[in-house]
Structures are given as C-alpha cells and as structure tokens.
C-alpha cells in the first residue's frame, strides 16, 4: 500500500517522513527544503507501506516546479492514503490547501504538527472539533519529539481494517471567497488565541529585518560563519585528523613496503614520495584528501549551515539580499540555492526548482558554478594556500565573488525576462533542537562519505595511472599553449582540467606538487573552481534546465571563467 505525505511548505513533512521511514531526510526551518519526491518504506501497524514525501505547496495552482510536482502526485490518485501535515501555528493558511486534499476524495489523516510551538504562542486548537468540522481524522503531533506517533500507528491499524472510514465525507464550496469564509468559521470555533507579549524572538525579528540593523547583522553573520568554519576545520585537521593520520595510519600503511611488491603496484598504492599531499598513492593521498583535508571542513560548514537553517535565519537573509540580487536578475530567494551550493552543488542545483522563471534558473545556475565553490574545493583552496599569508585566500574568494557578480550583471542584461517579485513566507525563529541538528549533520556527512569520498579516491587513482603510464605528458602538451601563454601557468594544468571535470577538489589538490608561486596558485584556483562544474553537477543540471539552456549556461560559464582568469593573471603579473 502507498501513502503520500502532503502539506504546505515548512510544516514538518520531512521530519514526519524521517520518523516513519527511518530514512534521513534533511529538514530546515524555511519553505522549500524538499523539492523532489522522496521515497521510503515504513512498517506501520504490522504492514509495510511505500511512503512518498511530496514537496510542500500552498495550492494546486502551480507556479513553481516543486508545486507542480505536488499537484501531479496528488491528482494522480496513485496512492491509498494521504497523510496531510498541518502547521498548528498558522492553521488558517494550512486549511486553504487542505480543502484541495479533501476534494481528492481519497482516504486521509490530518496531522496537526507543531502543537508545542502553537501553545508557546498562545494558540490552542481543539482537534476533535476540527475533525468534526472537516469530516476527517485529525491527530495532534509533535514531529520533532515523536509525540502522537503511537496514536498514528493505531489510526493506521483501523485504516487497514476499514479504509472507507477515512474517506472525507464533507463537501466544501468551490469558490475561493466562500472557502475563506468557512475557514474563518472553523478558526473561530476550534481555535482559542491568547494574546502574548512580544518576546525575544519578536525583538530579534525586528532587528534582523529592519534594514538599518539587518545589514550589519547579516554581514556579521556571514563573516563570523567564515571564521568559525575555518577555525573548527583547521583545528580538527591540526590537532585531530593529521596527527591520527601521520602517527597511526601512515606507519601501518608503510608496512606494505615489506612485501616487496612489484614497483608499479607499490607506486600505485603509496605514490612516489612520502608526503601525503604530493604522492598521489591511493592509500596515502587517496585517504588523506577526503578524510584529513576535506571532511573537517564539510563537518564545520554543515554544522554552521544547519544551525542557521534551523534557527530560521536564511529566509531573512534572502529578504535583505533581495534588493541587491535584483541587480543581477535574481530575487532574494535565488540566494538560497547559492548558499546550499557552498556545501555541494548537487543540492544547490536541485533547489533551483524553487525559482519560477527560466531567467532566474539560468542566472542562479551560472552563479552557483562561478562563485560558490563547493566545500571540498574550498577546503582544498584553504589547504594549498595555508603556507602563504591569508590575503591570498581572501583574494581567491573575493575575485570569485567579483567574477560571479559581473556574470550575473551581464546575464541580467542579456536575458530579457522580468524577474518576479519576492513573495515568500517567513517562518518564525526557532530554538534549534540539538537532537535534530545532530541527525541532520549525520545525514549530510553520510552523503559526503558515500558519494564524494569514492569519487575522490577514484580521481587520485586516475591521476596516478595517467602519471605512471605517461599520458599526462600528452594531455599537457595539448593544452600547454593556453596555460603557459595565456594564464602564466604550467602546461600540466591541462591534465588538471581534465581531472577537475571528474572531481574538482582533487584537481586543486594536484596543484601541490607543482611548486607554484602564491599568485599562480590563486590564478589556478580561480580557474579550476569556475571553468566548468564537476561531472555530477553537470548531470543534474542537464536534467533540471533542459539541453538548450544547459549548453547556454555552461558555455557562457566557460567563456567568462577563461576571460576573468586571464584578467587576473594579467593583473597579478603586471
């Protein structure tokens, strides 16, 4: 049997989904975290169900990709039960969409989520009254703590024995004005609201939304995040992971030498030199890059991102950046994919679906590639520039920012389409739950270890094989003119470009053995970050944008990147 999970955005569907299926689904305190259908299996009342987590929607009249997907699933009727999640803190708005669910005439259970938050705000809802008004079963739950899930289990048990009890019996008016009239009636009789004095959250709200204070606040948040991420990452490397690697792992791995293996195999496994950043053996560099250089930064970045997400700061940031982002053809919401992309491009590209127009999608995609390097790349840039003064690190990111802004400015002029105006729900601030934070962090780290680590090891292995077989020289001589003449970089960079296509962070790591100057490292980093997205994100992007827009975005991207890298190298070597 099949269950679908529906509801407005940001009502907690993903938390319900994770609880039911034990599959980690990332949830955040802003609308639009789930942009594709998540599938899972759940054992409820002794039976196994297929569960789909459908993207949140405010109505079935679709104006963005995520809502269209939701409308399609709901009208397909290819399911046996709808579990519809409502946010108790904003009952009326949730009810409007609920009518569309009731109209589908399929068995349904309503879950009234966030009842704890509602109580804090002085909102009391009588679920029994609500249930008799709507003619459907209504169950109050707190998804984050698991309250109400046992009752859900017994409701599902009675659904299995008699599903017709769960088909909505009431008819509601079709006209939208009449719907709101009924919602008013329901709200007056089922809901009691006590006036509460504005608390700390309200004060924070005003401070973070009124431009005079909001802009300095946003700047402080972004800058301190940068330093905290770096601080945590660096210390984890210097005091935990690097010592573990060099004191425990390396001595163990070096025992391989005792076996007197074929020298080719030995250099494949251990590399040519002993330094774990330059040898390119799969057991040395192949382990050092993902686990010692990149993982600590992935951890610290996602820790900070998850925290800001759960508190609910991101939508406020989007509002503040709105005016500014209109200059580059986006509205404030377009900054959310870019922030997601700082972790990994793939979720960043998927979240392009929250944008409505083709123009915004193309611009956000280009910016995603040009100026938000993913965390593994960022970690590698920090790492290769760590012997030099910090100004070079700032130069790389500052220049990427200028590059991205210029590209956005140009695209905004080229593509003639109006950018729609910002229209976005601002969820209330929340105190993040430590348990949920750890849960989310675990999912994201698991994803990195499962998807990215094997690719990094593969990239290192590939370079090693190319090096041993001598093919690197051939690629090098092919690309050499471009790099040595145009960009003042060694010709071997051509090989890095080819590798970078597979795994960007590895290509930046490969700069280490070349003994480049700081300026050359800066130029090379800028180029390797921006010239083209990695294979995984290209694949997802093609699916999201369609072949024509995809080629347009990628070739524009390449030209801009080459031009700006040339400009940078010209300036630095002046």
């Amino acid at each position: 049997m099949k269950i679908i999970l529906t509801g407005n955005p940001n009502v907690g569907k993903s938390v319900v989904f994770s609880r039911l299926t034990n599959i980690g689904a990332v949830s955040s305190n802003y609308p639009g975290t789930t942009v594709e259908i998540l599938l899972g299996k759940a054992k409820l009342a002794g039976e196994t169900f297929d569960i789909s987590d459908v993207p949140g929607a405010y109505s079935l009249g679709s104006d963005n990709e995520a809502e269209r997907i939701a409308a399609e699933v709901i009208s397909s009727k290819q399911y046996d039960l709808i579990i519809h999640v409502l946010d108790a803190t904003a009952l009326e708005r949730n009810l409007f969409f609920s009518f569309s669910i009731i109209e589908s005439q399929k068995p349904v259970i309503f879950l009234l989520n966030k009842s704890d938050l509602a109580k804090n705000k002085g909102i009391y809802i009588d679920p029994k009254k609500l249930s008799s008004y709507l003619g459907v079963k209504v169950l109050p739950i707190i998804a984050t703590t698991g309250e109400g899930f046992e009752e859900l289990n017994s409701l599902i048990k009675s659904f299995i024995s008699n599903s017709s009890d769960f088909i909505p019996v009431k008819q509601f008016p079709k006209s939208e004005g009449d719907k709101w009239k009924i919602i008013g009636e329901i709200s007056r009789s089922c809901q009691r609201i006590e006036h509460k004095h504005p608390g700390l959250a309200e004060k924070l709200e005003i401070m973070t939304s009124t431009p005079n204070t909001a802009l300095p606040f946003a700047a402080a948040v972004i800058i301190s995040s940068f330093f905290i991420i770096r601080f945590i990452g660096e210390n984890l490397i210097n005091y935990v992971l690097d010592p573990l690697f060099s004191q425990y792992y390396m001595p163990l791995i070096l025992k391989i030498k005792d076996f007197n293996l074929n020298p080719l195999i030995q250099s494949f496994l251990l590399g040519k030199t002993l330094s774990p950043t330059e040898s390119f053996g799969i057991l040395t560099t192949g382990i050092y890059i993902p686990f010692v250089t990149v993982l600590p930064y992935i951890f610290s970045f996602y820790l900070i991102l998850s925290l800001t997400e759960d508190i609910g700061y991101l939508p406020r940031l989007a509002v503040i950046l709105d005016r500014f982002s209109h200059k580059i053809g986006l509205h404030g919401y377009g900054t959310i994919p870019l922030i997601m992309g700082l972790g990994c491009k793939v979720p960043g590209i998927l979240s392009l679906r929250i944008l409505e127009t083709r123009k915004e999608k193309i611009i956000a995609a280009s910016l995603l590639f040009l100026f938000s390097p993913c965390m593994p790349q960022t970690a590698m840039i920090f790492s290769i520039l760590s012997p030099f003064p910090i100004k070079y690190t700032f130069l790389v990111f500052g220049y990427l920012f200028i590059l991205g802004m210029s590209a956005g400015f140009i695209l905004n002029k080229i593509i003639k389409q109006e950018t729609p105006e910002l229209f976005m729900e601002i969820p209330p601030y929340q105190i993040p739950s430590f348990k949920m934070l750890i849960f989310k962090l675990k999912i994201r780290l698991k994803e990195f270890i499962k998807d990215a680590v094997p690719m990094i090891i593969f990239g290192v292995a590939l370079i090693n094989i190319l090096d041993i077989s001598g093919s690197i020289e051939k690629i090098t001589s092919f690309f050499s003119p471009v790099f040595s003449r145009l960009l003042n970089l060694p010709g071997e960079m051509g090989a890095l470009m080819a590798i970078g296509f597979l795994k960007k962070d590895v290509s930046i790591a490969m700069l280490a053995p070349f003994n480049l100057t700081a300026s050359q490292l800066v130029t090379a980093s800028v180029f390797l970050v921006s010239y083209m997205p990695c294979a995984a994100s290209l694949f997802v992007l093609r699916k999201e944008l369609g072949i024509k827009n995809f080629f347009a975005a990628v070739s524009f991207n390449f030209i801009i990147s080459l031009f700006f890298t040339w400009l940078l190298s010209a300036i630095l070597n002046f």
Binding site: S59, F96, W180, V319, L422, F423, M424, E425, P428
Partner: protein, 83 residues
C-alpha cells in the same frame, strides 16, 4: 473613515482590510492561497524605504516585493473599529 491606500504605503504596525488586488489571475490566485484576498485582515510589520516589505496575515509573516505590495489595495482604518 475608510481611506483607501496600498499595502506599500500603509504605516508600520498598522492593520488594514484588503479591498482588492490589482493584477492578473495568477497574482490573485497566488495571493489568495496565502490568505490575501478581499476582506482579509493584514498587518504591516516592517516597511523599509527600499526592498521588500514584511506583512503579517493569519498569524504568519510574509515578505512581499514592493511592486506587488503596491497592487494590494487596502482600507487604511479597520472598519470594525479595532486597532
């Protein structure tokens, strides 16, 4: 006193009733699904001199671009006499 104005011009902290929404069917539907329809009560929470405004409807907050806020026509004083 039912003076007409737009949501954009409404003062910070003031409540108003929506009179009508100018613009196409799409805009109306979009606003309607969020609880902004003729007769709805709306409160202006934050009105910066530039950039989107923030309004409160049905106990939740929403950010609205200036152009769209200009298309939302409201009665300046709540006809029920409540502040």
């Amino acid at each position: 006193m039912n003076k007409e104005t737009t949501l954009l011009k409404l003062k910070t902290g003031e409540k108003a009733l929506v009179k009508e929404i100018l613009g196409g069917k799409n805009v109306k539907e979009k606003l309607n699904a969020m609880g902004i329809y003729p007769g709805a009560e709306i409160k202006k929470s934050i009105s910066p001199s530039k950039g989107p405004i923030i309004a409160e409807i049905l106990r939740y907050k929403i950010a609205i671009g200036r152009g769209m806020a200009e298309k939302i026509i409201v009665y300046e004083n709540n006809p029920d006499g409540k502040s």
